[in-house]
């Protein structure tokens, strides 16, 4: 590691030590000076940057006089501080008469063609252009000619609308597309007086990360279609939350007003999402305020549902469950909070004496012992750790769809840190229409047909260990020459495409499609990894928001340390409903009728089930087949924690009261328990979280107060006793 070199620079009279080469605009922040700017963004490259000229400062550099003394020489023209690297002895002035004048001039230029229709602009009130004009601009303009009038509401993508009139050509959106999401679908066309940002031939902007350009745009040019014209920023309240659309655990802000969720913006977390979101997260959380939300508990009355009071519904559920006792079962839970799951588990294990719990959706249900045998007890690779990987292998995973924020980190590791990315994917992924494919930055791509996974894994394992077989000569390409027969039969091009794998840490990401069917691929790779001299982690990441929480908290047939025999897995539970051995089912938060590996089995089982209670936000397919439907509080309406795929426990906070009669699932479960004579006296998420920390080894170091804003990784599994 090279030593960071520091230099002394003086900014408006304050001398500060900063890393050599840091941009002066950043150094100024260290002494509390915010230099106005538009195009500068610390996460975007400077290519096509430094174009708005708003960040001008005056610069003096020390120079040697003929007699050897030092004097300050002022540069004749102001410099852009966003592209000026700090150097020893540099003196920066940010408020000289020249700078004041220059800023006025730059703003006058920027506003020549800008409509200044702030009263109808979504950005008004939180707009850098508006703010800087108020602070630094002139009161009037000398430009009396007609402004340009390009289209005001051009639909760029499903989610983004483009007001071309307001664009100040800062190139933030185009740089986001090329530097961060990598789809590079936006660029400047017709450079010159008519320059405009556009996609290729006005085709749809299909990036899976399109919503981020709304946030990086320093004016109201790129706008959210669902949010447009719905609120003024000063009328919004903001609450810290966690995105529930996948397991990455992106930190977000919920902007809401009068009990309605109006928009989702990213919240900074360097370890997780930096400051990005994917479109699914930004635009997919509208369910919280959807008009289809369930408002009251429902009880089936023949072919229809009847709205009932909570008391009636809960009594009904308690009776049915207690009649079933150990023959009761639980499915789902991957979308419930840690607290919900903990209380639900207590209800089933302690109150009902049932271990029939499974959060998995099949088709394979390996036991905890099988998982340990195949994968050991390694903790998954944390998101930020990808930047330190030398090699990243993506196996059967459409990363941008399955784990979108991890995709951005893997891409960053490849593009900025030089990690070699190897993908082994079903060839059908090539045809998928969306942008953002691992192929765009992969060192090599290996395509296989369904059924060849194991052969590919064996070939990969062979290459991983090839150089170290005593018989084999050193080097990956030699290893490739002697691939096992299985691969030769599979007829995929392999060996020479693979670089040396043993020169640094490796992370392997295995897609849900692969690991949920069988552990043979992860097990094969793990066995090879163990033979390598370099650290290599096999990741079978959870995909739903709290699926990892369900794993940690043992929402599994063998998830109990006390129980002598394991309960039924999800398939067995559903079959049990048909043959009468399972007498009552609780489906929690997940629409299993749509998401189960065998939807047909779900439909048949639920039709024949003696009793089904479903907790849900809306009347999903599973709920329509239930006997009792209980309306759940959405993530915006209660407090709690989730465990993300990297085992990060993070807080979400209640943003508003939905104004409908919904409840947290833990409260429902505790209430049912109470009706069955077991008191679970929890008053808030804190009580339950405290109980989790006491009873679960992995959570032992967590307290309700030490999660902070960025969450906390659970203790490394290698230091735990296996459950």
């Amino acid at each position: 590691m090279s030593q960071v070199e520091f230099v002394n620079i003086t900014i408006d009279g304050t001398t500060v030590q900063v890393p050599a080469g840091e941009m002066v605009i950043e150094s100024a922040r260290r002494v509390g000076i915010e230099i106005p700017h538009f195009c500068y963004h610390p996460r975007l490259t400077m290519e096509a940057g430094a174009n708005c000229r708003m960040c001008l400062v005056e610069v003096s550099m020390p120079r040697k006089n003929p007699d050897g003394t030092l004097a300050l020489a002022r540069m004749p023209k102001p410099q852009t501080s966003c592209s000026l690297p700090a150097a020893e002895g540099m003196v920066i002035e940010t408020e000289t008469p020249m700078i004041v004048e220059a800023r006025k001039g730059m703003l006058e230029f920027l506003l020549i063609n800008h409509p200044l229709d702030c009263p109808i602009c979504d950005r008004g009130g939180e707009c850098p252009l508006q703010n800087n004009t108020m602070h630094y601009g002139a009161a009037t303009t000398r430009f009396v000619e007609e402004k340009r009038h390009p289209p005001k509401a051009y639909p760029l993508s499903k989610y983004v609308i483009f007001d071309r009139e307001r664009c100040i050509h800062c190139a933030r959106c185009t740089r986001f597309a090329s530097d961060i999401s990598g789809d590079a679908q936006l660029d400047f066309l017709k450079r010159g007086a008519d320059m405009e940002v556009s996609s290729f031939r006005d085709t749809e902007f299909t990036s899976l990360y399109s919503g981020n350009v709304i946030e990086v745009c320093p004016v109201g040019a790129l706008l959210s279609r669902p949010y447009r014209f719905t609120a003024r920023p000063w009328d919004l309240s903001t609450q810290k939350s966690i995105c529930t659309e996948c397991s990455n655990g992106c930190n977000i802000k919920l902007d809401h007003r009068a009990g309605k969720l109006l928009r989702v913006n990213a919240r900074l977390n360097e370890e997780v999402n930096e400051e990005w979101t994917c479109d699914q997260g930004k635009f997919g959380m509208d369910y919280a305020s959807h008009e289809k939300r369930l408002r009251r508990p429902l009880i089936r009355d023949g072919a229809v549902f009847r709205e009932v009071s909570w008391d009636e519904a809960l009594t009904h559920v308690a009776t049915a469950l207690s009649e079933a006792g150990p023959a009761a079962a639980f499915l789902g839970g991957a979308r419930s909070s840690n607290e919900d799951l903990f209380v639900l588990r207590r209800l089933f294990q302690e109150v009902l004496g049932s271990q029939n719990m499974d959060h998995r959706l099949g088709p394979a249900y390996p036991s905890a012992a099988d998982v340990r045998a195949a994968l050991g007890s390694q903790s998954p690779t944390p998101i930020a750790a990808y930047e330190r990987m030398t090699t990243i292998i993506v196996f059967g995973c459409d990363l941008a769809v399955e784990l979108p924020i991890l995709y951005l980190r893997v891409r960053k590791a490849a593009v900025r840190r030089g990690a070699k990315v190897i993908e082994c994917q079903p060839s059908s992924y090539r045809e998928r229409p969306h942008a953002n494919k691992v192929t765009d930055f992969a060192h090599s791509s290996i395509w296989y047909e369904p059924g060849q996974e194991t052969a590919i894994a064996e070939a990969l394992a062979h290459v991983m260990t090839g150089g170290r077989d005593p018989g084999a000569s050193d080097g990956a390409s030699d290893a490739a020459a002697s691939l096992p027969n299985a691969v030769a039969e599979a007829n995929v091009e392999f060996g020479s495409a693979i670089p040396r794998l043993d020169d640094g840490p490796i992370a392997i990401i295995i897609g849900r499609d692969v690991w949920s069917r069988s552990l043979s691929v992860p097990a094969t790779l793990k066995a090879a990894a163990d033979k390598m001299g370099t650290p290599c982690v096999i990741n079978t990441y959870a995909c739903s928001v709290n699926e990892q929480g369900a794993r940690e908290l043992g929402i599994l047939p063998d998830g109990s340390v006390q129980a002598s025999a394991p309960g039924l897995n999800a398939d067995q539970i559903l079959h049990g409903l048909k043959d009468g051995t399972v007498k009552a089912l609780w489906v929690s938060g997940v629409d299993i009728a749509s998401q189960f590996h065998d939807p047909e089995l779900v439909t048949q089982s639920l039709e024949q089930a003696p009793f089904v209670v479903v907790t849900a936000l809306d009347l999903n397919r599973t709920a329509t087949m239930a006997d009792v439907v209980l309306p759940l509080a959405s993530v915006a309406e209660y407090d709690g924690t989730y465990t993300s795929m990297e085992r990060r426990v993070q807080r979400f906070h209640q943003a508003f009261d939905a104004g409908v009669d919904v409840r947290e699932e833990w409260r429902i479960a505790a209430n049912v328990g109470m009706r069955l004579g077991v008191d679970m006296p929890y008053a808030s998420w804190r009580d339950i979280f405290g109980a989790i920390a006491t009873s679960e080894r992995a959570f032992a170091e967590c307290t309700p107060d030490n999660l902070g804003d960025g969450g906390r990784l659970l203790a490394d599994r290698n230091n735990e006793d296996s459950r």
Partner: protein, 205 residues
């Protein structure tokens, strides 16, 4: 969006010769995309005088850059035809010097004769007329470019002679590739300046 140059799906309309020509050009530069401008000329030729969306996509895939970046370059230079032109593309310089020498009257006369406005193409697809930026032969304004030939000292009265001259000559066909242009005088010198009687070669750079 993959930029896989070997994928047969992307081998579209470039002929084997064109591909060879492009690869020779690419070999001169440290980066593939440095050959963007000549690649666009090749595309304009291979796609029959027009840079279509497909042409830009083919260039993008062959150079390994996103298509919108190619469009960004192609939309900057007026000599790339982003829309279909007539077989004879008449470009009249409307820049400062030529404007002072009344290029407007030349444009007007051509509009009258062809029955189209500047920026349009005749219904039979034979002629297009447009205004051009400085054609870099200001001392001979008004300058008119038709295909690979430049006409100097054109006035409104010369319009018929100009149309006769370009009618049958393939050198006046719409520019499909970068090449040497030829300067042409329709008549003897004027204003006392000596004029070359024959065509003179000039490098357009």
């Amino acid at each position: 969006m993959t930029h896989d140059r070997t994928d047969p799906a992307y081998a579209r309309r470039f002929s084997p010769d064109a591909v060879r020509e492009l690869e020779e050009l690419v070999a001169r530069y440290p980066q593939r995309k440095a050959a963007m401008l000549p690649a666009l000329w090749i595309a304009q030729r291979e796609y029959g005088g027009e840079i279509t969306a497909e042409a830009m996509e083919e260039v993008a895939h062959r150079l390994g850059v996103p298509p919108v970046e190619v469009e960004g370059v192609a939309s900057f230079y007026t000599m790339y035809n982003l829309k279909k032109r007539g077989r004879k593309h008449i470009e009249v310089c409307a820049c400062l010097t030529c404007a002072v020498l009344d290029s407007a009257s030349v444009i007007h006369a051509l509009e009258q004769r062809l029955g189209i406005k500047a920026g349009e193409t005749t219904a039979d697809g034979e002629y297009s007329l447009s205004e051009a930026e400085c054609l870099n032969w200001c001392e001979a304004g008004t300058v008119v470019q038709v295909g690979h030939r430049y006409y100097g000292n054109v006035t409104a009265e010369d319009v018929d002679r100009l149309l006769d001259d370009i009618a049958g000559d393939p050198r006046n066909d719409v520019v499909t590739h970068a090449d040497t242009v030829v300067r042409v005088q329709l008549r003897g010198g004027c204003k006392g300046r000596p004029r070359p009687s024959a065509e003179v070669e000039a490098d357009r750079g």
